[in-house]
């Protein structure tokens, strides 16, 4: 099997996973809207929770994956790791945009304001901007090896920056709710809502994997095309 065929196969696999995830997302929303009770204080606005929280978790997880793959790249120097890091960063940026749009839509009815310089909001905004910069830098370097090395350096620096940003904005103050789901004691959420959010998390796992796989295949195909162009010239 040629490299091209295997990249196309990866792309198809990614499409299949994404299709499954999108069907699952529709299912989660039917469940969230019709079969999950309306939250007493927040009303229907709370339904955004089932998108906002999973997408936020996967946005940050995607950036963490980019950071870890950056370390792996500098160690193993395998082009494929660099492509995977790029794919994950791009999916993370897209997820962050969804998070930054769904957040204010929820914030307006519940907090009474579209935007607040709250700790978690602020840190995710800065981390988002950091990885937008990462993608901009990738676009400004032509040479493959140099692009991979510079991106890895930036990815590692970014990974180290996250806790500092979080600490910095935390020393201001926060109006985000304290963790509901991931905390030492049991999740403080009624059972029906818990099932919905867990289903949604599962769906977003698939969505992340599906998107990243497709984006990785695109990067592989692009690298092949660049090689062809170079050998033609």
């Amino acid at each position: 099997m040629t490299a091209r065929e295997s990249a196309l196969r990866t792309a198809r696999r990614g499409q299949a996973i994404t299709a499954l995830a999108l069907a699952g997302l529709a299912g989660v929303y039917v469940r969230a809207l019709a079969f999950t009770p309306v939250e007493r204080l927040q009303g229907p606005a709370q339904k955004i929770y089932y998108v906002h929280v999973p997408v936020a978790i996967y946005a940050l997880a995607a950036f963490a994956v980019t950071g870890l793959l950056s370390i792996a790249y500098l160690w193993l120097r395998d082009e494929r790791i660099d492509r995977a890091a790029e794919a994950s960063a791009e999916v993370g940026v897209v997820f962050s945009v969804v998070m930054l749009i769904s957040g204010p839509l929820w914030g307006k009815p519940v907090w009474g304001t579209w935007w607040a310089w709250d700790a978690r909001l602020t840190s995710t905004l800065f981390i988002f901007l950091l990885f937008v910069g990462y993608l901009i830098m990738r676009g400004a370097i032509v040479e493959v090896d140099q692009r991979a090395r510079f991106s890895a350096v930036l990815g590692i620096l970014g990974l180290a920056l996250v806790p500092f940003i979080h600490l910095t904005v935390y020393l201001f103050r926060t109006i985000h709710p304290q963790p509901i789901l991931f905390k030492p004691s049991a999740p403080s959420l009624p059972g029906v809502m818990l099932t919905t959010i867990l289903l949604s998390l599962g769906v977003f796992t698939l969505l992340y994997v599906g998107f990243t796989t497709q984006r990785y295949a695109v990067a592989s195909l692009r690298a092949l095309r660049e090689e062809e162009l170079l050998s033609d010239a």
Binding site: A140, F150, V153, L154, I156, L157, F164, T168
Partner: protein
């Protein structure tokens, strides 16, 4: 160890000599700092906001922008005529070259700050009596923080397209912790708050300095072409 420091010193002296002969970058950074300080003074409603309220922020925005004007210089110099290749061919540890560049930038930014602070005191009518040592500590720690990251990122930025545009985009997210910390500390120091209110931010700056100095030195080699 002595050889290593010798290399560092040689690079600092070389860069300082080049800068001393033209003074272009230094003068630009100083004039830039004065302009930013004065523009920020007018960027408020004087009947509602006293200049003292915005003074710490103005000082650090000025330092940040002025540093960014200077940071690209260190590696831009070496890009012309591929001078960096000559340096890398010399049989010296590569990290020494980086530490030399970083020390040079530290001196550059330090001197710009040294000139800006008296102007800041004059323009914003701030009294520094008895607060100078604390303010000096904050400035030193925050400056090390952004010069460490800035030198590494500028080594990469000058080798991308749109080099001058790339550095601010890459660097500013990294400046959030040190600049926010420095502004918080400066305003508390100027308001003569007790030292216990400063410790949290001082610890943050110290941790940032250590982590990013080490990372910058370790990662520098990865930015070099083989």
């Amino acid at each position: 160890m002595r050889d290593y420091l010798g290399v560092v010193w040689a690079i600092v002296v070389k860069d300082a000599t080049v800068e001393w002969r033209t003074k272009t970058a230094f003068m630009s950074a100083v004039v830039f700092a004065i302009l930013v300080l004065s523009i920020l003074y007018f960027a408020r409603d004087p009947t509602a906001v006293s200049s003292m309220d915005i003074a710490p922020g103005a000082l650090w925005v000025t330092f940040t922008f002025a540093a960014m004007v200077g940071l690209n210089r260190a590696f831009l110099l070496e890009r012309e005529n591929q001078a960096i290749d000559g340096m890398l061919l010399t049989p010296v540890p590569r990290t020494a070259i980086f530490v030399g560049k970083m020390t040079g930038n530290l001196l550059f930014v330090g001197f710009v700050e040294l000139i800006s602070v008296p102007l800041f005191v004059l323009f914003y009518n701030v009294s520094l009596a008895g607060r100078l040592p604390q303010l000096l500590a904050v400035t030193a720690m925050a400056t090390v923080a952004f010069v460490a990251v800035g030198t590494l990122l500028s080594a990469m930025a000058v080798r991308t397209r749109f080099a001058e545009l790339m550095l601010p985009i890459l660097l500013l997210p990294f400046l959030i912790p040190p600049v926010v910390g420095a502004v918080q500390l400066t305003s508390r120091i100027l308001a003569a708050r007790p030292a216990s209110e400063l410790m949290g931010w001082f610890k943050l700056l110290a941790a940032f300095d250590i982590v990013f100095c080490v990372l910058a030195i370790l990662l520098y080699e990865a930015t070099l072409d083989e």
